[in-house]
Amino acid sequence: MNIKIRIEELRLSFGKAEILKGINIDVYKNKITGFMGPAGSGKSTLISLINRMIDFEENAEITGRVSIDGEDILGDKIDEVQLRRRVGTVFAVPIPLPRSIYDNIAYGPRLKNRNERKELWPLVVESLKKAFLWDEVKDRLDSSALKLSGGQQQRLCLARTLALEPEIILLDEPCSGLDPISTAKIEEALNELKKDYTIILVSNNTKQIARITDYAAFFYMGTLIEYGPTEKLFTNPSERKTEDYIQGKFG
């Protein structure tokens, strides 16, 4: 198994508040890895380091190393723009851009100067298919993305990310607030996608983690409590806290 992302001794604080207290974890290529834990455990902050969206927060003090394919991605010398082409993100709340469905998907590729219709079109179609949204929108690609339902918008966000042809996809509580059918569609899509992408799924929904992830990491208050194959974590967890969390004793 290849290590796609390696995180070493990662600490992050905002002033006196320590959010991440020394995280060490290896994320494997072409697997779905789940980051689970109650609110405030630092899981969303952790992935904001992988896509360097943490840059938009002021006053963050970071030590440690985050590397993708062996290359450290923290630090001023790294080009975040190139990084974000390799690491795509889907946020908790779907945020379509105020333009057509087609233009939403094409936004990323156009930034890479893929402007020709004959290049863009297959890319858009492919991305929508991979996100399991194609059938529902194929007749109305020019209509406003704002008219889609919540579940459709979220799949749009996924397709938008796929259009950039990333290597890694980060999803931060993507199904919170979505109905079960939309959730199922997204999970189905992720299952297919892991063949070609490395996926990290942040979720507070333990059942979802159990359903679709290959590896699971349990975070609590900024510390990684336990990490391993999902099946093991859920059937025979080594840590007491993990067991309590999975059983819903807190969270």
Binding site: M53, L97, P98, Y107, L164
Partner: protein, 278 residues
């Protein structure tokens, strides 16, 4: 004797009501007077022929051209400067002594009355820089005058764009400038345009700053160094020298109609585009 507060309440309501209607009445009266006194003299000939005999005869064509040139060129220069400043203040820095100083500069510029702009434009552009009374001097002066308005309204419009649209753009690998041009500015567009239209309206009606920089030549300006006359300046001269009441009213009508249509266009843009993709 204690007056019933309910009664006072009713009195007050009537009092305020009538004052509000009185104020609206003033506006209506002003527009009506201009309209009724001016429209008899407003015709195609008036618009398309230039003033003759100091304005006693002929129309206002050269002044319309003068106005259009002055305003368009000023907007052309002031818009990038103003929107750029607004972008800088909102997207490229966080609040600091530097931004506070710049804002102070902008607010101060906004407070300067037009006669002082005229005075400055006169000594700096006309005299010291040797431009003489010219379109160029007028444009530069008016540009500075309308800059604060454009900066203020642009900043408001840009700030109103939701933060998460920017986040999405960045996460899709856009640079800051790409995010500004592809996401922020299109969303803020209507607000910015409204600010520009308001500035246009102000520049069209401006007299004190224009007469001492662009001058009041009746010739049609054909180059930047030519002097010229705007409608507002022409109107002022007509009125003050008592040259022609009818022409004055007609000019006033054209002025007010222009400003009215500019305001209407501004509101139309504001309302139409916001409903399209909101």
């Amino acid at each position: 004797m204690r007056i019933n507060p309910r009664f006072v309440d009713k009195l007050v309501k009537i009092g305020l009501n009538s004052q509000a209607f009185f104020t609206v009445g003033i506006l209506v009266t002003i527009v009506a007077i201009i309209f009724f006194k001016g429209s008899p003299y407003l015709n195609m000939e008036f618009i398309f022929s230039s003033p003759e005999d100091m304005g006693r005869h002929g129309g206002i064509f050269s002044t319309i051209i003068g106005t259009v040139f002055l305003v368009l060129l000023s907007i052309f220069v002031a818009t990038p400067l103003g929107v750029g400043t607004a972008i800088f203040l909102t997207e490229y820095t966080k609040e600091s002594w530097f931004t506070k100083t710049i804002r102070f500069g902008v607010e101060s510029l906004a407070g300067i009355p037009s006669i002082l702009y005229g005075l400055f434009g006169f000594i700096f552009f006309v005299i010291k820089l040797g431009m003489g009374w010219s379109l160029m001097a007028g444009v530069l002066t008016i540009t500075i005058m309308i800059l604060p308005t454009i900066i203020r309204t642009s900043e408001e419009a840009i700030k109103a764009v939701p933060r998460n649209l920017r986040i999405v753009s960045y996460s899709l690998s856009a640079t800051k400038w790409e995010t500004v041009t592809k996401v922020v500015l299109p969303s803020a567009g209507p607000g910015i345009l409204t600010g520009i239209m308001l500035s246009v309206g102000r520049a069209v009606g401006e007299t004190a700053a224009v007469i001492f920089t662009m001058g009041s030549s009746l010739r049609l300006p054909t180059s930047l160094m030519d002097s010229g006359r705007t409608m507002a300046v022409h109107f002022y001269i007509l009125a003050r020298e008592g040259i022609s009441m009818e022409k004055a009213y007609a000019t006033a009508l054209v002025l007010v109609l222009s400003i009215l249509s500019i305001n209407i266009i501004a509101y139309y843009i504001m309302n139409r585009v916001t409903s399209k993709y909101s």
